[in-house]
Symmetry: none
Subunit: 225 residues, 2 copies
Amino acid sequence: MNKSTFHILVVDDDDRIRELVKEYLVENNFIITTAKDAFDAKKKLEIIKFDILILDIMMPGQSGLSLTKEIKKKDNTPIILLTAKGETKERIAGLEVGADDYLGKPFEPKELLLRIKNILEKIKKPALPEEIVIGEAKVNLKKLEIRLNNKVKKINPQERKILEKMLESPGKIFSRDNIGKIINISKERTIDVMITRLRQKLESIPKNPKYLQTIRGSGYVLWIK
Amino acid sequence: MNKSTFHILVVDDDDRIRELVKEYLVENNFIITTAKDAFDAKKKLEIIKFDILILDIMMPGQSGLSLTKEIKKKDNTPIILLTAKGETKERIAGLEVGADDYLGKPFEPKELLLRIKNILEKIKKPALPEEIVIGEAKVNLKKLEIRLNNKVKKINPQERKILEKMLESPGKIFSRDNIGKIINISKERTIDVMITRLRQKLESIPKNPKYLQTIRGSGYVLWIK
DNA sequence: TCATAAGGTATGGATTCCATAAAAAATTTT
DNA sequence: AAAATTTTTTATGGAATCCATACCTTATGA
């Protein structure tokens, strides 16, 4: 793997493992930060935007599972969970809670590397530009703003997540299920509401959306032009 | 999960596991074929195009690993490998050989289902081309639109289903029964009505259809050119 | 050419699906 | 902990679509 600037946070209460993983990944040109528990991790998460998080499930204080859930609520940083051997149930729980992958202890560092590569494959998409034009609106995902008709509206966190995902695949139909997974929600009406709100910020005539359209019976689509 | 027509091949030399997996997946609306070894599997692969293959690594004769390699050379059917517990090395080898995912035995059926869903997400539909030309009309099954004489008409879900099916076999006669099955309707007149509607969207002169024609006494045919 | 069978279509009630306002709950900020 | 913001639920109305029926038109062959 080439020199990278990917920044990974490793959270494990076991000093030995933490250091081992760190060493191995540093060798492979990652930038590594470690934390010894959820509390510590959260402190660091507030300051730094990591590319990947590696969390041990079994930790004193808040568990990795719970931490995953909490983090995934806010953003979609990929998470790899480390599970004690054979804890199938936890592994399932992990996926359900939104983890992107997991690894049973004991694991070979090489395997961890594979998982990381795997995830990087997925995220290496050519980072969305600072400002994206959707019809008459200009979306700034960094400032969390949408300019439309000389007005500036704020994008809320959940809205951002949906928008980001839909912007990755303009023209793709997102079922409510799809969207529900993005923001961790199941109620259909709730999703409708988020779409309605997005329309009010994106569309000149929210009642007749030109860009964020409904596909009756299937879901929603975003057209960026 | 909805009713699906996904066809999965399960290859494992252990009768017990084979049957267990089959049973569970059939319950979840998959079509399952089984094979007891690589030789058996290859015979079946020659005849049927599967959507996913589930292979045990440890098998008498050719191993799942070797089989994976062989298959991946020819096509890219997604493969999930089943590994005996703790065989980390094999798991790594599996990914390197081109497998799409793996699952350590013993596994929970529910977890297998998760993996399968995951893969299906990716392969989605074999997607007909974005835009299909039928006579003077341009059909966009994604946008659910038909452009004809500079006008855009919307296709609704039932119409789409019929169109999709007929597009799979242009020139084939579809009896009302055939069509009825597609959209779950039995009344003859009702089917006529759907055809009428489609003609109004597809044909320049709906009264004299050139492409969506009636075969009196037999049914309807779609000609795409 | 007339009778009849087969196909075409306008209409509308029932149903399903979606939009949105408003309220309630949860979360974040102050 | 009060206030402000955001998220989620709920309730309701409206729109799209489904499906059947009645009636009309066309094709066929006796």
